[in-house]
C-alpha cells in the first residue's frame, strides 16, 4: 500500500465500516456503541487541549454537565428537539469556558489542573444546590427524542466524524500550528509576535463547546441528567481515555473511549468490585509500554 491515496481510501472505508456497523446492533450493544461515541466526542475535545495545546484540564465534567443540564432544561421547555439542545449545550458550555478561561490560563501545569477542577466543582455545587432548576440530587428526567436509537446512533457518529475532520483541518492550519508552538515554547511563540494566550483561549472555548455537545447526547441517551454527570470523576474518566488512546492524535481519543467504555461494561458484567482495578492496571501497562497510547500501536 505504497500509494498514499490508495491507503487513504482503504483507511476511510474501514473507518466508515466500523462507524456504521453498530447501526445493525440492538439493545444493550447499541446502547454501548452510543456510549462510546458520545464519550469519544468529549475525549477528542480534551485531546485538543492535552495533546495539542498542552493544557491538562481536570474540569471537563463541568462542560459535559452543562451540556447535559442545558439539554434537559431546553427539552423540558421547548420539547425534545436535538438540533436545539445541541445548539444550547454548545453555547452554554462554550460560554462557561470563555468566562473561566482568562483565570485558568493564567496558570500552567498542576495549577491549571487545579483551577479547572475548582471551576468544575463550582458547577457541581450549583447543580446540587439550585434545586428548582437542576433538581438537585434528584436530577432531571429528559423526555425521549422522537427518533429510533439507530438514528440517534447515526447522528452521533456523524457528529463525531465531523468534529474529527474539522479539528484535523484546524490543527493543520496556522492556528493549530501556533497552538502547538505555544505548547513547546511560550516564550518563543510570543517573541514571534504571536499572542500565545489567545490561541489557547479559543482552543479552550472550542473544547468546552464540543464537550457540551457530548453532554447533550449523553442526556438524551440516558433520558436523565444527574449530579453524576458533573462529578469530578467524570473529568478523570475523560483524562484516562485520552491517556489510554494517546494524546496528540485525535483518533487516540476515540480508541481510548471505546476501550474504556467496553472494558468497563465487560468487567462490570462479571464482577462489581474489580472494575477500576482492571482499568487502572490497563492504564499502567499502556503508559509504561506504549508511552504515546494505544493509537501508536495502530498507527505504527
Amino acid at each position: 500500500m505504497a500509494d498514499p491515496r490508495a491507503r487513504r481510501v482503504v483507511v476511510g472505508a474501514v473507518v466508515l465500516a466500523v462507524a456504521l456497523a453498530p447501526a445493525l446492533l440492538h439493545g444493550y450493544a447499541l446502547y454501548l456503541a452510543i456510549e462510546v461515541v458520545l464519550y469519544a466526542i468529549a475525549a477528542v475535545a480534551l485531546d485538543l487541549l492535552v495533546g495539542y495545546a498542552g493544557l491538562v484540564s481536570l474540569g471537563q465534567a463541568a462542560f459535559f454537565g452543562l451540556g447535559a443540564y442545558a439539554a434537559a432544561i431546553v427539552s423540558a421547555h421547548a420539547g425534545p428537539n436535538l438540533a436545539l439542545t445541541l445548539a444550547a449545550g454548545f453555547v452554554v458550555a462554550a460560554l462557561f469556558a470563555a468566562i473561566t478561561a482568562p483565570l485558568s490560563l493564567r496558570s500552567a501545569g498542576i495549577f491549571f489542573l487545579m483551577i479547572t477542577l475548582a471551576f468544575a466543582q463550582l458547577v457541581w455545587a450549583t447543580a446540587d444546590k439550585w434545586h428548582s432548576v437542576t433538581g438537585g440530587s434528584d436530577g432531571l428526567v429528559v423526555p425521549r427524542l422522537p427518533m429510533s436509537d439507530t438514528l440517534f446512533y447515526l447522528i452521533s457518529v456523524a457528529l463525531l466524524l465531523l468534529i474529527i475532520a474539522g479539528l484535523a483541518r484546524l490543527l493543520r492550519s496556522p492556528f493549530g500550528r501556533v497552538l502547538e508552538a505555544a505548547r513547546q515554547s511560550e516564550t518563543r511563540t510570543r517573541a514571534l509576535g504571536l499572542s500565545a494566550f489567545w490561541y489557547k483561549y479559543w482552543a479552550f472555548v472550542l473544547a468546552g463547546g464540543l464537550t457540551g455537545l457530548a453532554g447533550v447526547l449523553h442526556a438524551h441517551h440516558r433520558n436523565f441528567v444527574s449530579l453524576a454527570d458533573v462529578d469530578w470523576t467524570n473529568s478523570v474518566v475523560l483524562l484516562v481515555m485520552v491517556l489510554l488512546g494517546g494524546a496528540r492524535s485525535l483518533w487516540g481519543g476515540v480508541i481510548g473511549a471505546a476501550v474504556f467504555v467496553l472494558l468497563q461494561a465487560w468487567i462490570s458484567s462479571r464482577t462489581d468490585k474489580w472494575e477500576m482495578f482492571v482499568i487502572g492496571a490497563v492504564l499502567i501497562a499502556v503508559v509504561l509500554f506504549t508511552r504515546r497510547g494505544l493509537w501508536s500501536l495502530v498507527n505504527a
Binding site: R169, L170, R172, S173, P174, F175, G176, R177, V178, E180, A181, Q184, S185, T187, R188, R190, A191, L192, G193, L194, S195, A196
Partner: protein
Amino acid sequence: MPELIVESLEKRFGGVVALDDVDMRVERAERRAIIGPNGAGKSTLFAIISGEEAPTRGSVQIGQQRTTGMPPERVARLGVARTFQTSTVLTDFSVLDNVRVSALRTTGHAWTISAPLDALADCDAAARSALDAVGLGEKANTPAASLSHGEQRQLEIAAALVQRPSLLLLDEPLAGLATVERRRIGALLTGLPRDITVLLIEHDLEFAQSFADRVTVLDNGRVLADGTPREVRENPAVQAVYLGTASPSQATIERPRAGGAPVPLLAALDIASGYGQARVLEDVSIEVSRGEVVAVLGRNGMGKSTLLNTLMGFLPLRAGSISFAGADVSHAPALARARAGIALVPQGRRMLAGLTVGEELRLGARPGPWGLARVTALFPRLAQRERQRSETLSGGEQQMVAIARALVRNPLLLLMDEPSEGLSAALVHSLEESIASLRDDGETVLLAEQNVDLALAVADRVYVLEHGRIVEHESAGALRAHRSRLERFLGL
C-alpha cells in the same frame, strides 16, 4: 536617528540588582555588541527590551514608540526579532515548520484557519529562502530535534530573519559552537543586510569587536564603557574586568609543600562530554592531587562548567575515564560521587527555594572539621543572615551560602564553578582569602575561573581551556611570571 533608546534602566530580582541605571542609545542600522562578564546583566537587558521582563525603573523606546512594560508579542510586532541564549527551537516540528510558523505574522497568516500551514505559498517561500540563507535548506524536512547544537543556532537565526526585523537581538549566537560552526555563523551574521539594527551579546570578543560598530561593556549591571571597539579595547577599566589587573592583591602566599610525590585524588583521562548533539569537551585530561588547589581558566563557553559538571556526574561521559580516590567513577551517578566526597559549588548558586540560610547549611552537613560554626567564622555575614531566606540574599551573599553549603559536606574535593561571578571587587578579594585559607588547611580544590588574578593568587597549578580542549598546563608560579602566556587565550 535612534532605533533604540534605553534610559536609567534598573532591574532587581529579589536581592540581586541585575541592571543598575543603564543608559544606551543605538542608531538605526548600527551594529552594537554588548559584552561583559557573566551575570553582568546582558541577557536581562535583552529580556527587558523584548518585553519578557518589566524593568523595576527606567524606560525603553524602540523607534518612536515607548515600549516599557509592553508584552513581548506587541514588541515583536514593532519589528523586533530575537534569538535566545538557550535554544528555544520547536523540537516537535520539522525545521521548515519552525521557520514557517515564524513567518506567519509578517505574511499576515497568524489567524488563518481555512488553509493548512503547508499550503501557504508566501509563507513557504519566505521560510525556504531564510533556511537557504543560513545554510539549512537541505535540512528543511528533518525534525528540528535531530539538528546539532550548531544547526539549531542556525535555525534560530533563520527564524529571526524570516520576520524581516528592523531590530535584531542576538544572544550569544556563537556560544557552544565548534570552530567550523563558529566560522559559518560568524560569516552569516557579518553578511546580514546592513539596514538591520543589530544588538549582539557575545563572549567571543574577537568576533564581537570585528562585527560591531560600537561596543557597550556591562559589568555588575552597569555600563562600564561604551565606544568603538578600539576605544573599548584600550579602556583600562575594561581590561581590569577581563584580566583582573585591578584586583587588590598581587602578592600571593607561597606555602610550604610536603615533599614526595603528590597523591592523585582525581584523575580525568581523555574525557569527552557535551549536551545533546553538541560536544563541548574533547580529549581533556586533568589531575588534582590531595591538598592541591588547581585552577581551570578559560573564557565563557570554552567548557569550564561542562568540565566540572562532568566530573560531578551531572553530564554523561562520552569518552575517557574519571577516577576519584582510587576508584573508577567514570559512570557513577552524581549522588554516588557526592557520597564519595566530591562537592560542587555550582555556577549561578542555585539556592533552594523557601529555605533559610541556616536550613540550607544544616541540610547538607556531614560530620567532619567543617561545621556551621566554622563556616560562619569564615563568612561572618552568614551568621547575621542565618534566619533569612537564602533566595532573598544578594548575589554575593548567595555565593557565600553556596560555598559554605559545599564546605559543610566536608568533601575530599571541592569543585568551584566561577565563584567570583557576580561578586564585587571587595568580595572577590575576601573570596580569594577564603580559598587561600582553605588551601592552607590542606583542602583540595578545583576552581574554574575567568578571573586570572584570583586563580593565579590561590592556585598551585593552572590548566587553560580553549574551545573544549586543554591548551596550556603550567604551575601558577610560572604563569605569574609570564602573564602574557595567558593573555593569548584570555586577553582582549
